[in-house]
């Protein structure tokens, strides 16, 4: 048996697992050896003695195992109490330290709260719009059919599959075997709701037409009353019932149970509220709230002048289904694609067959997971949110760098304390644990504060999205994200300083002359960690500043871009005369009446009309035959068109490059004429002029009498499309829904009210929506505004943090070198020289950061190229601005420490050593 040498009583702390086994073996072996020895003394041979000793001992294996079990358990219990008492000690120590340095702690907590809070706010938005699934049972079984982003779309004309007609939906519903259930949903026009008897002014809730299986497919129960039953799908007009949402029930009906069963009228049609949906159900669209669900069968009753139910050319529905058990998404997709294609081709007119086949080829049906429902805003905000998340992560990194520097400085000040403790036997791991606990507590506290900040922050962000209706919940996912982030942050800014602080050379530390830790260790030497951190911070700030500059300039370009019309002097009025039953002659005289009323309103210089309004979300397209132009594919003859009234172009301020404006003589009696836009003219007539040529569309031929400079249709970023304008008076029948364009002399916003007043006087039942063109254009770039504004805020924040970091490091560095400066000045240096020295060092750090940061910034901008409008990657103004701002901040941050260094009296300085 091995002897342990000269140790008589070795004090053993902590027992390891191998230790335990060794000890037990040793103990039992000792016993056996003693018994053997005794037996040998009694006359046994050594082997026999040992065998007998083992026999007397008993079952050595079982006994050994019992002893090991007992000892291991004991060891585990001891270790557990150790951990707990260590942790408790660390926490109370950390709290005490934090309380002792209130200022330091406050700065750290505030910085953390800002960094983590900004991240949580952004993540809340991402969670609400992109990640969250519908609050229905088993959302993973749901599939959307078509384009999930077209929640309010309506298209009249050729058959499509991104939104579908009711007959097409019925075909899929009746023939599909791969889906356990399927429903269709589509937008309503403006709803005029009268809920109380004697109510005069109608309200306009958000509604949605849904087929009867809506609630059963989504498996949403009623909180009160009932939801729709299959009866609601049977007869058009035979389902005069509605279901309201729980939230709408609370706000509009004050949670009154008598709301169920109440009779209401919508658009003059009597309906009954039969139920309230479950409180957890928020609709099938993310980012838009729905207050009332109406059976599709009531569509024609509520919109009597737009019969869509039997019309295969009216596409307006989205579809959602639940997969049958055992069916995969791919199987469902192929089955439904086959059904839809067959249905589309079966019912198509002979002439359009080829076109439909091409549409099918070019636009395959989208069948995707419906777990996250339909969402217009998800598609719109996906890229902006990604940019924001990246930017805010950069801010957090800067925060961590700042805090790491602070912790480094503080930890090195305690360098001597640490080395003494380690010399006395303290475990390095223990000390690192202690320091890390402090970082962790601060990170958790900062995270908690950050969550509070995020409550405000996420609401602010949502307000900037331009209309998304989301409740920013701090749900479990968001809180988990914040907790994880706090943890990661704590490690990022706490680990390295903790390791640094405990990695000290004993001799150096205890040297009387020395200041505890060498400069290099402390991080203020030439290439110290602290300085590297500042360089990193500057680099990250450059990234954000360049990004900010480019995005802001891009935003400015967007806002000032020439749309080809008088952006700041136009009001657009959307008129729905179809609801009120206007047709043909009555409609034409209404249009004329409205135009004259508009022109007579004070402040208005001109008015005209068009079927599609600029930036109003509607578009018409068709294919035309152009004299002298041979199309190679069907696409070549596609063109957007609009029916417009007299003096349209002069009213909207468009520039006629050739020819004349359309006017009053272009009516049924006159020759058929048209005006082309410049893009179409260049395309169809590349070698000559479009003037005088003829085009044929919808079996009528028109002569081109003018070419107008492009007017932007609805998307500032899109390339201009080919467009042709025809006189509304020469079309077969005027459109039931149209837009009035009203040119004002002054600020159009001031005239909205008087204009609406004047127009309603023609017929109070008309549905009117008045908006200025600049409002509409701004709405279309709301997301860009969101990104540029928020990134600017982050940019400024980053700059402030980096400047603070630079200031901190420079202050610390110069304080360490006070004696050196004093010596320099005693030997004849001017204060200005010392200042230059310090400032020079500061600027060197900044230059380093810029060298690292610039390429990174350009690389990052490459990724978001699509967001930038007419700004190249080497946008000198942005780059220059970023550099100037950064240098100025750095100079300021370095100036104070520099001045302090220069002010040191040589005697004071020398005395300090």
């Amino acid at each position: 048996m091995t002897d342990r040498g000269d140790w008589t009583r070795v004090f053993r702390l902590g027992v390891g697992a191998r230790h335990i086994e060794r000890d037990v073996d040793q103990e039992l072996e000792f016993h056996i050896a003693m018994r053997t020895q005794k037996l040998v003394g009694a006359g046994f041979a050594p082997d026999a003695a040992r065998a007998k000793a083992l026999e007397r001992f008993g079952d050595i294996h079982t006994i050994r195992d019992s002893c090991l079990d007992i000892d291991h358990q004991r060891e585990r219990a001891m270790r557990r109490t150790n951990y707990l008492s260590n942790a408790r000690q660390d926490i109370s120590y950390a709290l005490r330290t934090m309380r002792q340095n209130v200022g330091f702690t406050a700065v750290v907590l505030l910085t953390l709260a800002l960094g983590i809070g900004a991240n949580t706010s952004t993540f809340t938005l991402i969670d609400a719009i992109v990640l969250r699934t519908l609050s229905v049972p088993h959302p993973e079984q749901l599939v959307t059919i078509g384009d999930p982003a077209r929640t309010g779309g309506m298209s009249d004309g050729s058959v499509r599959n991104d939104i579908v007609s009711y007959p097409l939906f019925a075909d899929v519903r009746d023939q599909s075997k791969s889906l356990r259930g399927i429903y269709a949903a589509g937008r309503t026009s403006r709803l005029d709701l009268l809920a109380e008897s004697g109510q005069k002014e109608p309200e306009h809730p958000r509604g949605r037409f849904v087929s009867a299986s809506f609630f059963s497919v989504l498996q949403v129960p009623a909180a009160l009353g009932r939801t729709f039953s299959p009866d609601e799908d049977k007869v058009p007009g035979g389902a005069p019932v509605v279901v309201i949402s729980y939230a709408y029930w609370l706000t509009r009906f004050s949670g009154d149970r008598s709301a169920v069963g109440r009779s209401i009228t919508i658009n003059g049609v009597p309906l009954t509220i039969v139920g309230v949906s479950a409180s957890t159900f928020k609709g099938d669209i993310v980012g838009q709230r729905t207050e009332i669900w109406i059976p599709i069968m009531e569509q024609q009753a509520l919109m009597p002048n737009s019969p869509w139910l039997d019309d295969r050319s009216k596409s307006w529905l989205q579809m959602m289904g639940r997969l049958a058990p055992g069916v995969t998404l791919a199987q469902a997709k192929s089955e439904i694609t086959a059904i839809e294609n067959r249905s589309m081709l079966d019912h198509v007119a002979a002439g359009e067959r080829a076109g439909t086949e091409q549409n099918i080829r070019e636009g395959p049906l989208r069948v995707e997971s419906g777990a996250r429902g339909f969402s217009y805003y998800r598609k719109l905000l996906a890229a902006p949110l990604f940019i924001l998340m990246a930017a805010v992560s950069v801010v957090l990194l800067i925060v961590c760098a700042n805090l790491a520097n602070l912790m480094l400085a503080r930890a090195s000040a305690r360098g001597r304390e640490m080395s003494v403790r380690m010399a006395l036997g303290a475990n390095r791991l223990r000390l690192v644990q202690q320091l890390l606990t402090e970082s962790l507590i601060m990170a958790i506290a900062g995270g908690a504060l950050g969550v509070l900040l995020a409550i405000w922050g996420s609401s602010a962000l949502i307000a900037l999205t331009g209309g998304a209706e989301i409740a920013a919940h701090l749900d479990a996912r968001v809180l988990a994200f914040t907790a994880l982030l706090s943890l990661a942050t704590a490690i990022l800014f706490g680990l390295v300083p903790a390791l640094r602080a405990t990695r000290v050379e004993l001799s150096e530390a205890l040297r009387a002359q020395g200041r505890g830790v060498s400069n290099a260790e402390r991080g203020t030497g030439k290439f110290g960690l602290g300085k590297m951190l500042v360089v990193a911070q500057v680099a990250l700030s450059v990234l954000l500043l360049v990004g900010t500059g480019m995005l802001v300039r891009s935003m400015q370009r967007l806002q000032r871009t020439d749309i080809g019309a008088a952006r700041d002097q136009l009001v657009l009025v959307e008129v729905d005369a179809q609801r009120s039953g206007y047709k043909d002659a009555r409609l034409s005289s209404l249009v004329a009446d409205l135009i004259s009323r508009a022109t007579q309103t004070p402040g208005v210089t001109a008015a005209s009309v068009s079927e599609n309004g600029i930036f109003s979300g509607s578009e018409s397209a068709t294919s035309i035959r152009v004299e002298g132009f041979t199309p190679r594919t069907d696409d070549d003859s596609a063109i957007a068109y609009d029916d417009v009234g007299p003096a349209y172009f002069s009213t909207i301020g468009a520039h006629l490059a050739q020819g004349r404006d359309l006017d009053a003589r272009d009516n049924q009696a006159g020759a058929k004429v048209a005006v082309m836009n410049a893009t179409a003219a260049r395309y169809f007539f590349p070698h000559g002029s479009a003037m005088g040529s003829h085009i044929t569309m919808d079996s009528a031929t028109y002569e081109i009498v003018g070419v107008v400079s492009d007017v932007e249709g609805g998307d500032l970023r899109a390339k201009p499309v080919r467009r042709v304008y025809l006189p509304m008076a020469q079309r077969r029948s005027p459109p039931g829904q149209f837009y009035l364009e009203v040119r004002t002399s002054g600020n159009p916003a001031h005239l909205s009210e008087s204009l609406r007043h004047a127009l309603s006087a023609a017929d109070p039942s008309l549905a009117l929506r008045v908006k200025t063109l600049s409002e509409l254009v701004d709405d279309s770039i709301a997301q860009d505004k969101l990104v540029s504004r928020v990134v600017s805020v982050f940019g400024i924040l980053a700059l402030a943090l980096a400047a603070l970091g630079l200031y901190g490091v420079m202050t610390y560095a110069t304080t360490r070198r006070t004696s050196e400066f004093g010596l320099r000045m005693a030997l004849g240096a001017e204060p200005a020289d010392v200042m230059r020295l310090v400032l020079g060092e500061a600027m060197l750090l900044v230059v380093g950061g810029v060298i690292v940061g610039m390429p990174a910034a350009l690389g990052a901008m490459q990724l978001v190229k699509n967001q930038l409008y007419e700004i190249g990657l080497l946008d000198w103004p942005s780059l220059a601005l970023a550099l100037i701002v950064l240098s100025a901040s750095a100079a300021l941050a370095g100036y104070l420490p520099a001045r302090r260094a220069a002010r040191v009296g040589p005697l004071v300085a020398l005395r300090e050593s």
Binding site: M1, T2, D3, R4, T8, R9, V10, R12, D23, Q26, E27, L28, F30, H31, A33, M34, R35, Q37, R56, F57, G58, D59, I60, I63, S66, C67, I70, D71, Q73, R74
Partner: protein
Amino acid sequence: MADIDVGLMRGTLDLLILKALTWGPRHGYGVVEWIEHATGAALQIGEGTLYPALHRLEAQGWIEAEWGLSENNRHAKFYKLTAAGRGQLRTGLSAWQQFVESASRALHATASPRTA
């Protein structure tokens, strides 16, 4: 003796071990020797069964262990009583005594006591 209830055995064994250590630290083998000597070698359980008992008593805090050198300069684990162990021995002893007395009374009864 091999038929005696293990629970009873264990309790008694614990007391014997504690008692063995009243006069100072001993290693495991020493405890076995003392028990054999004091009980007149009547307990013929396997000697090794002492060791789980020793470890258990150590885990419970009645005894504590230290490694040291035995009489013949071997490395051995010595056990000694803690203050709590002394107390445990006292209470355990009187409890054991009471049990033995009342069990003895019952086992030596000549007539069945009147049952109500």
